[in-house]
Symmetry: C2
Subunit: 277 residues, 2 copies
């Protein structure tokens, strides 16, 4: 029976659809361009940005990286974003998270023009999401829902457990899943006895960034696991789940790498198309 | 030991603070006015509106009710709301929910000017809420958080279980509590074995509108219950919890009536002040 969810394959299909749309827009004289704002030198961020750049180039979207020193203050960063957005050719702006702790992340995110906000992080786009009238979703939740649909995973009347409440995954995904017919539990690093909750999950979604956080003793048999965790052990990309250990118990699982990650990049690019069509 | 949370008393204190602010605004030549839009003749809605009207009158806020037939279509209702909002003296507009099933509720809610949206239901205000930069909260979640604060209820590292995912309570409260350091479970009418979840709750918040949904067998000892359920048995207002039955087991509980309800009305009026200050 099929167990491993192949995100690389799904992303490939998605990217070729997106590429067709990019070509079509070009024929109409519309050239797309994405800008990414990076503050500091976070290694994981640099690797994510490289993937975005490669994918953009592959499908014909122009790419520009704006790098700022880690000690930039909130106001100066807001000012820089304002200037970057004055470029009339710009079709997408990503502020790579996390920002340094000294920076007021929310204040910076609110500077993004909602029409360029392909990460769906502004309160404007979050409000659309929360009220169910969204055109775009944040890329990682979008990728998770894409795989859920593609692999015919039924969430109705199921107990879904999300581990992690971050801005990019746990929080928006929680808001989204609150709109459906399921039971939803959201855990964080403050949850006592995490295993008590994960063991109840029919579907477990993790987005923490802590290798081997979830082991075989923390899940029930026949569970579906979607692992959106991303952290680096040296140069090796890791998820949140002890993949080898849990493999025998699961009904389906996303590997890391090759699971949610590649679909996330594709969904980011799809958002550029949606916001510019 | 104190067990019963006295919402009537809390509301009284709140209302006298609000009244002072209304008077202050009047001295500055600023007269407040709330309009309520009612479609059809729902009995619970009529009773809620009466309470809003009484409270408005008591503290010096003008009140106007706009009633429409149950068979009005979405577009006509949107048009009516547009006209109502042209009144320059208007400081608040409430569209009383639920609307008839034929009406597109979200489309109607999006017609509300966010500056008049004291129920905090527009995607604009929901987005502020979801991103943590809100000035106002929907009145029932605001009332629940007010009582939690007033009664020194600690949510940190606790397991909070919400039953109900409605637009007015469960959904926005879920979004709000996702921002804190707790474990959160959200159940609905589609949850199998509801008791399995409610029995895990340190703090149980219900907002369903189904009398006696929660009985003594469904909770653990020393639980805190906040009952935001409202339904009518004849003329008697009921919560979701079998109050008499659970009373011996609970650490604290809100009665119905006299619990969350009166504070909700006060919080609605407080939102008028906040949006007009």
């Amino acid at each position: 029976m099929l167990k491993i969810i192949n995100g690389t394959q799904s992303a490939k299909k998605l990217l070729s659809q997106i590429q067709r749309k990019v070509t079509l827009l070009k024929q109409q004289g519309r050239h797309l361009k994405m800008a990414v704002v990076l503050v500091g030198e976070d290694l994981a961020s640099l690797s994510f940005i490289r993937k975005k750049e490669e994918s953009c180039k592959k499908i014909g979207i122009a790419f520009e990286l704006f790098k700022f020193q880690a000690d930039i203050d909130t106001l100066s960063l807001c000012q820089k974003i304002k200037i970057i957005q004055e470029d009339p050719r710009l079709s997408a702006l990503v502020v790579q998270l996390p920002l340094p702790p000294k920076v007021n992340t929310r204040q910076v995110l609110e500077m993004i023009d909602p029409r360029l906000d392909v990460d769906c992080l502004t309160s404007h786009n979050l409000g659309k999401l929360a009220s169910g009238i969204y055109k775009i979703l944040p890329p990682t939740p979008a990728a998770i829902l894409h795989l859920i649909k593609e692999y015919n995973i039924n969430l109705q009347r199921k107990h879904i457990v999300i581990v992690g409440k971050g801005e990019l995954v746990g929080k928006p995904l929680g808001i989204l899943l609150t709109q459906d017919q399921n039971t939803l539990t959201i855990c964080t690093k403050f949850t006592k006895n995490l295993g008590n909750y994960t063991r109840q999950a029919d579907v477990l979604i993790t987005a923490v960034g802590k290798p081997n956080l979830i082991n075989a003793g923390m899940i029930k048999d026949n569970i579906i696991i979607l692992d959106a965790g991303t952290s680096y052990k040296g140069k090796k990309l890791c998820g949140d789940v002890n993949y080898k250990q849990v493999l025998e118990k699961v009904k389906m699982i996303t590997p890391v790498p090759g699971g949610i990650g590649p679909v996330t990049v594709a969904k980011l690019l799809e958002n550029i198309i949606i916001l510019n069509s």
